[in-house]
């Protein structure tokens, strides 16, 4: 009985959120006195999978079927269910990503498991009661949830667990086949379109984010946001009104009705800090607010702040980052 960890790969690399998930899974395994096995999905290399040993993974199962490169709900679900069967896994850990949620929810029904999404801490297993902490009310609260099923599936929120790095440890990579048939690929995508990311940093995975609001006045001023983001190696984001009027693409909109981010650093530029915006960012570790209005509500949720004009402050910050070297 090992803990099964679902590892998402992209372009050969293991995604950062999956390194966290692997670290989470290996710690759960330790808690339960067992080992952690990973099952990899997406385009992976054997060398990168073997490196999951650094996150405490003992064994990695990998099905090299080329059609598994892109996300296919039916096929992924069957593959992971088969891996769980083989490993007799009572606990399955995956990322709280679009893939993780789509697969985890189907698996929970197929395997009759209790499912907890948005998990932010390691579980407690006291007196046979398995409890996890999860985010609720769009980041405005936390809930301790008891999972009563014999099997449990946990979807771990990004950036809530520190990834382990035990240099030199390697995992054993085994080829694995779930005997997938054409029918399992019936819902395969016809086409996959990736967006241009500022500086190549993917917003949901980013550990630094520079975000702009209506205070930026117009799309022509976004170079100020992009310059700072590039200097920091950060992703760019925006408030809802900004994407509503198409100053920025919709996928950059964070908040209660956009995406939730939890980076180590969130820099808000000309954003007032409405409750719906805060809901999407308030689990960031450090929040910096730049706003010309000292009464802007965002300052109450901030760690650092500058009361000032973004057009004056942003170039100074970019310059200061460049000087750091």
């Amino acid at each position: 009985m090992s803990v099964l960890v679902v590892v998402e790969c992209d372009g050969g690399e293991v995604k950062k959120s999956s390194l966290e998930v692997a670290s989470y899974g290996s710690q759960v395994a330790q808690l339960l006195g067992t080992t952690a096995t990973a099952v990899a999905v997406g385009e992976a290399t054997e060398a990168n999978l073997a490196q999951l040993g650094e996150q405490g993974i003992t064994k990695v199962l990998y099905d090299a079927e080329p059609r598994l490169k892109d996300f296919v709900n039916g096929a992924y679900t069957k593959l992971i269910a088969a891996a769980a069967q083989q490993e007799d896994s009572k606990v399955i850990v995956l990322a709280n990503s679009n893939i993780g949620a789509a697969v985890g929810s189907r698996l929970s029904v197929r395997l009759q498991a209790s499912l907890a999404t948005n998990v932010v801490e390691l579980p407690k297993n006291d007196g046979g009661q398995f409890t996890v902490k999860r985010g609720a009310f769009s980041g405005k609260a936390l809930a301790d949830v008891v999972l009563s099923g014999e099997r449990k599936i946990l979807a771990v929120k990004k950036n809530s667990i520190e990834a382990l790095h035990e240099a030199g440890k390697t995992a054993q990579v085994e080829s694995f086949s779930a005997q997938l048939t054409d029918a399992d690929f019936a819902d395969a995508p016809k086409q996959v379109i990736m967006q241009e990311q500022t500086g190549g940093v993917l917003l949901p995975e980013a550990d630094k984010v520079v975000s702009g609001g209506r205070g930026m006045k117009g799309p022509e001023n976004w170079n100020l946001i992009e310059d700072l983001a590039k200097a920091l190696g950060a992703a760019t984001a925006c408030s809802k009104p900004v994407s509503d009027v198409d100053w920025r693409p919709h996928h950059e909109h964070v908040g209660q009705t956009g995406i939730t981010v939890s980076p180590n650093l969130y820099i808000a530029c000309g954003i007032s800090g409405a409750i719906q915006h805060l809901a999407g960012v308030n689990s960031s570790k450090v929040i910096v607010v730049i706003n010309k209005d000292p009464e802007a509500p965002f300052f109450k949720a901030a760690d650092y702040g500058i009361v000032g004009d973004v057009f004056d402050v942003l170039p100074k910050l970019t310059q200061a980052v460049k000087e750091l070297g």
Binding site: S114, S138, L265
Partner: protein, 246 residues
């Protein structure tokens, strides 16, 4: 074509979250409940597709106690034809999914639409559970939905991009922007909503598999450290040496 739109009754987005003194339940006192914002995309898109097809029905479904009826009526006012309420407290996502699946199956619905996730419990899970219970595909979260005959073309958001997916009815999709511009009720809609059918049924299925033991508010911030705008560069030093995030 028969559309089933699932709506969740959630605290308004501006709600200050508070719990009962034992921290076991959400404190509803003084809280305004609304249709889950994501579900409004599902509802409006279903109505648009029905109109484009020149026929068919849009049924709204909620699993909840009688206090959710004002929002069910609101959905009828926006343009749904009829409604079903499963008379039960929505104990957990699996419980809710079983109710939706049972009604979808008995009613022979072609398209089952819901929101991306509820803004109260943030489960992001009911869609997959319903799809699996019914043995049909799920597309979540969908940013675009077009129908041609029995085939739907959807844009599914993935981290960093999107997939174009084609599925045949019946299927489940969970919706988000920019799928459509959510409609608001007009006067005529509000008048006709009063007489549209709202059927109340009792729950079915197995026990929930999860239970919330306690709620807590997130830890409070210590307070903001302000840096004068003239010394903006100082902030970067603090982020490196004090906060250690760059």
């Amino acid at each position: 074509m028969k559309f089933l739109v699932c709506i969740s009754n959630v605290p308004d987005t501006t709600t200050k979250i508070a719990f009962t003194p034992d921290n076991k339940e959400f404190n509803k006192a003084g809280v305004q409940f609304v249709i889950n914002p994501w579900d409004e995309y599902a509802l409006t898109r279903a109505i648009e597709l029905k109109e484009a097809q020149g026929g068919g029905t849009v049924t709204v479904l909620n699993v909840g106690e009688a206090d959710t009826e004002p929002n069910i009526r609101k959905a009828l006012a926006i343009g749904a034809d009829d409604a079903i309420r499963v008379n039960a407290y929505p104990k957990d996502a699996f419980f809710v999914a079983q109710q939706i699946a049972s009604i979808a199956k008995d009613g022979g619905y072609d398209v089952i639409l819901m929101g991306k996730e509820s803004i109260d419990y943030n489960g992001f899970q009911v869609h997959g559970m319903v799809g699996e219970l019914l043995g049909i595909p799920t597309v979540a979260p969908a940013m675009k939905l077009d129908m041609s005959g029995n085939t739907a073309t959807l844009e599914r958001e993935i981290e960093g991009g999107k997939e174009i997916v084609e599925v045949n009815t019946p299927f489940v999709a969970s919706c988000q922007q920019p799928m459509c511009e959510p409609r608001i009720p007009n006067m005529r809609g509000i008048m006709t909503a009063r007489t549209k059918p709202l059927k109340v049924v009792e729950p079915v299925g197995d026990a929930p598999r999860t239970e919330v033991a306690t709620y807590a508010l997130p830890p409070k911030k210590e307070g903001v450290k302000l840096i004068p705008a003239e010394n903006a560069g100082e902030l970067i030093k603090l982020l490196r040496n004090e906060a250690k995030v760059i």
